[in-house]
């Protein structure tokens, strides 16, 4: 049953959950929300399980009208969300009555906003996940991005009363404005000469126009690699590949599952939400961290979500 009617779909809005990690051995990208922190937080704010599906909106937001009363939360990028023209806060559970109109103004920060719906966004399940995968036209809203006239349903009825107004305090959100991505040296770091290694962890890069859910090609210093061609191996989101030519590619959620280009660094878990909010033209840099430090930062973000989960009990 329809809960939200799509009046305007936005530039690129898809249904995403936490992806299908078990499909990678068949060559299928793990997929799922690019910004897992924002996705999880949005779900928790409306009383969902973290793995429920949300809408991921890139560059701008959709216009949605409530066909039934419902609870939503908007997290991640700030696209100036409004209900019936009145500004509403992000990272907060918001009640929509029948006929209420959720719109977005101008993009103020970040590249991807998430809309969670109490009960979870309904969609096609493919290989264990509702995430949309365009290349195979499977998952989510019939394997495609939203279009005007689509009806968004809930995965299940919520049962009890819904509680609006839950909020994630600002100090617990990722620092999206700091575009320094923390990374650990990759398996093939030794293939970089000294100058290229210095540029990798000291130079400034820019997200090029070739940037989507598969990955971002980065403009900036070229990185010189040496050595024989590698045999293909399994990849991960966050890996920085350097093809011949030296222009690095940062792999994101819908990344190719295997490849043979050197991986010189991998962005750590705690920095992936920031990476997910980048758009073409955004500046970024990389800073090397130890595995220990990466672990501490990952736990800090997990604790923020734990706090939210406990507050909702």
């Amino acid at each position: 049953m329809s809960v939200l009617r799509v009046v305007e779909p936005g530039l690129f809005t898809t249904v995403q959950d936490l992806g299908r990690p078990n499909a990678i051995s068949a060559g299928v990208p793990p997929g799922g929300a690019m910004d897992r922190f924002a996705h999880r937080a949005a779900n928790l704010l409306v009383g969902n399980a973290e793995a429920d599906a949300c809408l991921e909106c890139t560059l701008n937001g959709p216009t949605l009208v409530a066909a039934r009363s419902c609870l939503v939360a908007i997290t991640g990028a700030d696209f100036d969300p409004r209900v019936n023209g009145q500004a509403v806060p992000g990272w907060t559970g918001i009640f929509l009555g029948v006929g209420d109109r959720l719109t977005f103004g101008a993009r103020r920060s970040g590249g991807r906003t998430y809309i969670a719906l109490a009960g979870g966004v309904a969609g096609d399940r493919w290989l264990g996940s509702l995430s949309t995968y365009l290349l195979a036209a499977r998952g989510g809203m019939h394997g495609r991005n939203l279009k005007a006239g689509d009806e968004i349903g809930v995965a299940r009825e919520t049962g009890g009363p819904v509680v609006s107004g839950r909020q994630l305090p600002e100090r617990l959100r990722p620092r999206y404005t700091d575009h320094t991505l923390l990374a650990v040296a990759g398996p093939h770091i030794k293939r970089l000469d000294a100058e290229s290694r210095r540029l990798l962890f000291g130079g400034g890069f820019k997200v090029s126009r070739e940037a989507d859910r598969m990955g971002y090609r980065l403009d900036g210093p070229r990185l010189a690699t040496s050595g024989d061609e590698l045999l293909s191996f399994g990849l991960t989101a966050g890996a920085m590949q350097v093809p011949r030519g030296g222009q690095p590619i940062l792999l994101m959620a819908d990344h190719q599952t295997a490849g043979g280009y050197p991986v010189v660094a991998t962005v750590v878990n705690a920095s992936m939400p920031v990476a997910a909010q980048l758009l073409p033209g955004d500046d970024l840099q990389f800073a090397e961290v130890t595995l220990e430090r990466a672990g501490q930062m990952r736990l800090a973000l997990a604790a923020a979500l734990d706090g939210l989960r406990d507050a909702l009990r």
Binding site: S25, P187, N269, G295
Partner: protein
């Protein structure tokens, strides 16, 4: 130093490298070698059974391990990998054999033949001769890296990759061959096409091939 093992093939020395804070790459070797690949697949299977491991992908001579950082660390998993890799892998069951019809009339067949100093017919004959091994499934859904290709057919990739290769294209590059499962960009030489679908989105797993399977091509007219 322990005495060398009496096995015919000594256990390879494994090196591990972090792939961020929740995955690692275990490298058994750097050569295209069936025995190494067999070991990699066995290691991936063994690791997958561990509770602290979420997912594994065997490469040609590597295993990529995605782990639960709340349950283990890079160091602890590395120690476990070294123990597992030192064991002799179980005898590999012969992989399933797929027979794939190919119409040898790809857009690059003439050029490939000319560059190799062979006739197009001879290229087809050589390509259809071996039983190839599926070394690895990955890159895009359903793609299987098959090999080794006969030395006589070895060519580097195209200088300029095509922006769109039709699904079903049978292609070669280096000592490898494969079937494009989906229309994607590609830099391999297209020597034929097949009606067999390698990507099966409505099956689970959605892929015709599994690592360790065997593939035999044969010339067909359709």
């Amino acid at each position: 130093m322990p005495p060398p093992r009496s096995a015919r093939r000594p256990a390879p020395r494994v090196r591990t490298f972090p792939l961020g804070d929740t995955a690692l790459l275990a490298e058994l070797g750097t050569r295209l070698d069936t025995a190494l690949n067999t070991r990699a697949i066995a290691l991936a299977t063994a690791l997958k059974k561990r509770r602290d491991v979420r997912q594994t992908v065997a490469g040609y001579a590597t295993v990529t391990v995605h782990f639960d950082p709340d349950q283990t660390t890079h160091e602890a998993l590395t120690a476990a990998i070294k123990r597992l890799a030192a064991k002799r892998p179980p005898m590999e069951e012969p992989g399933r054999l797929h027979r794939i019809p190919v119409v040898y009339a790809g857009p690059d067949l003439e050029e490939v033949a000319a560059r190799l100093n062979l006739t197009p017919e001879r290229v087809a004959e050589l390509h259809a001769k071996p039983i190839y091994r599926v070394f690895l499934v990955g890159f895009v859904p359903g793609w299987a890296y098959l090999g080794p290709l006969p030395e006589e057919l070895e060519l580097p990739r195209r200088h300029v990759p095509r922006t769109q290769v039709p699904a079903g294209s049978v292609a070669i590059a280096g000592r490898q061959t494969g079937i494009y499962p989906l229309p994607t960009p590609g830099g391999w030489h297209l020597i034929g096409r097949t009606s067999v679908k390698a990507f099966l989105p409505d099956r689970d797993p959605p892929c015709l091939f599994r690592a360790g399977d065997r593939v035999k091509f044969f010339a067909s007219t359709r």
